[in-house]
Symmetry: C2
Subunit: 209 residues, 2 copies
């Protein structure tokens, strides 16, 4: 099953259901992909225009990155589903005997690490989008400035959303050192990149009204 | 063309292109639909569980609303495209003679009003989602609390995104009274509902780490 091959209508239907996937983690990645796409759209409305000839090469270079990020984030929608399904099954393992309990703990720990790792990767990719979005705002076609603002707002939300999907898994990990390191790395990303994306959004809003 | 009938992959491809639609406004509506869907998902993971039997009726009532909002927001993706296409054509109308200039101004004003009205409606629907999301966080299954947090983050971003698509159209309207009224109503929605959604997100984050 490729969730990103669902129609948008079908994706929202499946998301609404009680099926374990797709869920919040994959949807964070999808929202990141929408943000990267909007960056590419701003780029596509900029290149080939006389007015923007002097930034054309730079914009083309950025668009290669946002197109790559769009694809990577769509792949991470699938990766999140693949990592989450075994975890949702592991929750249901029996733990009546000591042996079963130990086995369940081992499986759970492995599944939790994988289920935390994917949204962590989603965060890193979204930070890459946020690193680029302000240049699209500044140097891209002024006709598409609202799209750059939307890209910034969606990327910030996607980053915050992915972080919750790290935290909900790290909190149950028995390897507290690993959990603490991942949480710290998440909080570092949030504290740098959320304000960055919010500044881009505010600059767009102030330009428009 | 029904944009929400595109596969998620195709939607992001079309969004990346220089085609006028889909754009930031429709994507705000789509993100709102994802948020409403996550609320429904939390609901679906709550109902039928003994632990949550005493909130089941309330949750079912809320889920009817979030399912309706999901559908309405998906329809607004299409409505935004329908309203934006004539505007993108109106920009290209000739204005060489006085008559042409007057005609273009009339057509532009009409198109701008329609193009502002749709994201304004998107904002109203997203405010309805935000009105419900904190109850899903509080009363829904604790296993899905991160999904309620993602719903809140996405709804806030969708609301901010839709507002830019109102502002970019109202700023060019010659009817400054109408433009001012719409802008004020947008800013009122932002000032009430963004903090509301952010509080929900923070409560989820604080619960998880």
């Amino acid at each position: 099953m490729q969730y990103t091959e669902l129609k948008c209508t079908e994706y929202t239907e499946q998301l609404s259901s009680k099926a374990p996937v797709p869920g919040g983690g994959g949807t964070a990645a999808l929202t990141g992909a929408l943000s990267a796409s909007l960056c590419s759209m701003v780029g596509n409305l900029t290149i080939g225009k006389k007015k923007y000839a002097d930034v054309e090469d730079e914009i083309r270079g950025l668009m290669e990155k946002t197109e790559r990020l769009r694809r990577e984030l769509l792949s991470l929608v699938e990766a999140d589903a693949e990592a989450f399904e075994p975890l949702s099954k592991a929750y249901g393992l029996p733990k009546e005997t000591e042996e079963q309990a130990e086995q369940k703990a081992r499986v759970m720990e492995e599944c939790l690490k994988n289920a935390a790792e994917v949204p962590f990767q989603i965060m890193r990719k979204i930070c890459e989008v946020i690193d680029l979005v302000d240049t699209f705002r500044k140097k891209g076609s002024v006709l598409a400035v609202s799209d750059a603002g939307v890209a910034a707002a969606l990327a910030a939300a996607a980053l915050k959303s992915a972080s919750l999907n790290v935290f909900i898994n790290t909190r149950l990990m028995t390897d507290r050192q690993k959990a603490g390191e991942m949480n710290k790395a998440c909080n570092d990303m949030l504290s740098v990149y959320i304000p960055m994306a919010e500044r881009t959004f505010e600059k767009v809003k102030n330009k428009l009204c």
